[in-house]
Symmetry: C2
Subunit: 447 residues, 2 copies
């Protein structure tokens, strides 16, 4: 049965309170699919269904729920039930949930957890949002550097039920410092008497827990890693970031950049489920800011009000010209925001790219000028044609160079380059474009 059929049947069984059917259906779901089903149901339905799973499966399905839904469901659990669930959850996921609870609830739940898990949860919950620490897990497989392959395999077998991955195994010295990694692939093809220290790779790619998640995701993707070890400033292993969490981070970062590119402030979680007020808040800031930025364009127009009332035809070409400035600028900034975002381009590349953009923008501007010169000639004669063509070359170049440079400037002063959204660049290019256009017009018409 596919997801649609399964959810149909499960909904049916829930209505009929057919416990046997429910029990046999829930185990047929992929954990991620059952989580999606629960996310669409009421909290009390979720609780009932979760109760049909054994604790390991329950923790896995629960971990796939969006964080807010996890919290809503957890609020209806007893402290005992919740503590039991937390014991079995992945260490990064339970820390996120823990951080949402109020203090009383945190204390109550901590008290009921096993000591080792409690300490782990306390430590993991202390890492700030957005840091590597907040997405790493402490459930890794490790062996002492003195082990033989046989000993190591034995240890890995014992770790298997709890570790998030046993395919990368971390080799530690007596002081818990990371000295190497060995893959399970390497272990199973090696002689049982071989030493782990002879097989391990010791050129390691590592991060520290306070670095940015985005960078961890980039390293995992660049080096095709299964997991990235995280060490403290004394080289001690504190956790690992697995590739599946890195994929989630990369997707969330791409979403953030895309929304910023449309001048929407960061929005977490599903766009479909976001509340009206949340969406209002995330959008009004930039809309208002851009209205006030548009006043500069308006002021530019006000300066040339005399010219406009004498040559009303000039207003006709305004949207074409300032639109083109904005569009060329949006293109250039979009390219740079993405290239800076993926690490394709560095701050130091600006000068070379600026040089390249001058030529590209000139070619774009000339093509566009050619296209609009005819319309200019038709609507207003030779003078207007020349004004429109010259202005077009000027505004396309200005918009492009501005769009290219703004993300670099923002990054340089410590802002997210993605703040250089298409609407922001377009608005700035508009204001400058008006001045260029009417400036050229005034000069040529001799006003």
């Amino acid at each position: 049965m596919n997801y649609a059929e399964l959810s149909e049947s499960l909904r049916d069984a829930m209505e009929k309170q057919d416990t046997v059917a429910i029990e046999s259906l829930v185990v047929e779901f992929q954990p991620a699919d059952l989580a999606e089903f629960l996310h669409e149901e009421e909290v009390d339905v979720s609780l009932k269904i979760l109760a049909h799973l054994d604790i390991e499966e329950r923790a896995e399905v629960f971990g796939y729920l969006p964080l807010n839904t996890q919290f809503d469901v957890s609020e209806e659990m007893t402290a005992e039930g919740l503590a039991q669930l937390l014991n079995c959850m992945e260490s990064d996921e339970r820390a996120d949930l823990f951080n949402l609870m109020d203090e009383d609830r945190q204390t109550a739940v901590l008290k009921l957890m096993a000591q080792e898990e409690r300490e782990d949860l306390r430590r993991m919950a202390s890492y700030e949002d957005g840091t590597v620490g907040a997405i790493m897990t402490s459930n890794y497989a490790s062996v002492p550097v003195t082990d033989t392959v046989l000993q190591a395999l034995d240890k890995v077998r014992k770790t298997a039920p709890d570790a998030e991955t046993i395919y990368q195994i971390y080799v530690l010295d007596k002081l818990h410092r990371l000295v190497g990694t060995v893959s399970l692939r390497e272990l199973i093809v090696s002689r049982p008497t071989a030493l782990v220290s002879d097989l391990m790779v010791s050129e390691l790619i590592t991060m520290s827990p306070d670095q940015e998640q985005e960078d961890a995701s980039r390293l995992i993707s660049r080096y095709d890693l299964l997991a990235l070890p995280v060490i403290d400033n004394q080289q001690r292993l504190v956790g690992i970031v697995t590739y599946d969490d890195a994929m989630d981070v990369a997707e969330a970062e791409a979403t953030e950049d895309i929304l910023k590119g449309g001048s929407i402030s960061g929005l977490e979680g599903s766009i479909k489920d976001a509340s009206k007020f949340m969406l209002y808040r995330k959008r009004i800031f930039w809309l208002l800011l851009l209205v006030f930025a548009n006043i500069f364009t308006a002021a530019g127009i006000a300066i040339y009000e005399d010219t406009i009332s004498k040559y009303a035809v000039l207003v006709f070409f305004m949207p074409l010209l300032i639109g083109s400035a904005g569009n060329a600028g949006s293109q250039a900034s979009t390219l740079m925001v993405r290239a800076l975002g993926t690490g394709d381009v560095e701050l130091s590349d600006w000068a070379r790219l600026f040089g390249r953009e001058i030529l590209i923008a000139l070619a774009l501007g000339l093509t566009m000028a050619f296209a609009v010169a005819f319309i200019g000639h038709y609507r207003g004669g030779q003078d207007i044609a020349m004004i429109v063509a010259l202005s077009m070359v000027a505004v396309v170049m200005m918009g492009s160079l501005l769009g290219l440079s703004l993300p670099f400037v923002l990054k340089r002063v410590g802002f997210d380059p993605a703040t250089a959204s298409a609407p922001l660049v377009a608005t700035i290019a508009d204001a400058a474009g008006i001045l260029v256009y009417f400036g050229i017009a005034t000069a040529i018409l001799g006003l």
Copy 2:
């Protein structure tokens, strides 16, 4: 040594032709880093350095090069050298390279390859760009369904040097049909005499080779898979897609959507290295199209030329109003493009989201109207204030609803919803905004 130091030293050793130093340096690089180094050097330097690696390492480093660079370097190799390299490359990567070669070269190289590899290459090269077939690899680990754990582990050990992953093992029946998967984790913790058929998972997530890469990447991310099996229409296993290729696909898709959002047609590979002509070509199409779309806005202005020459103050508010229509529209379309792209929102959600947007856009419009009414009053009195405020509510609502709907319409008729770029939505909203604004003005001023 970090990457910068390593490349510095290697460049140094190359200049001095210090073979011993070169040999010891190249093995210190991570394969992905050495590829980056080679990418920045001339082809002949790359060839020299690659010659210092054994064939397995050479194939791995070579596989990390951008495809165009791979091709340039391969063109300088002998047919023998290239055939040897292709023998060791990953099956999806070599198929991409193979497809770039001219026919004579393809024939020459194929002749020199081992028969098994040749057949694999022929088959893999036949899948179309963008399909699952083009990123899948045929180097997977498989065992017969009749095996015991002991037998399976033995087979996996033998496959280990060639398989891209041995952590997911595919269980096949006599007709090569996929009947289940078992993880290496499961195998190493189970009794040696247990049957694979008792351990395997048989509820499988699979794809067919002609489906879209994007969907494979989405499934891998959703279900946290290490690899996704690909089967033909007779259930036979033809390959697997691994998580690292899925990450690359997800990144490329995000880049494509971001660039489309800035009205730049799809650009493959590095933005930094793209040629000037290529960038010109990718940008001019939309710039020209949008100029002609802006003519509608201009035509709107032409209709109201009389109104404008009587009330020049109306021109002052033009950029504020049409800018806001465009900005609100860009926001709404950006949200929907991303939500449709990640699968957060489906076509069938349109009506509900449209309803939500009416309320959000009304709130946004009222806030904006409040902000500009004062400026309207200051610059032109009560009538102008009312015109500006009314127009603002109308254009923000119109822009938002249009921006929200356009991606759905595009998707419905079979286009990529990401074509609803910020500049396109802004341009359409501008044209409609002009009509609304001057229409309201003409009505209120009784012209």
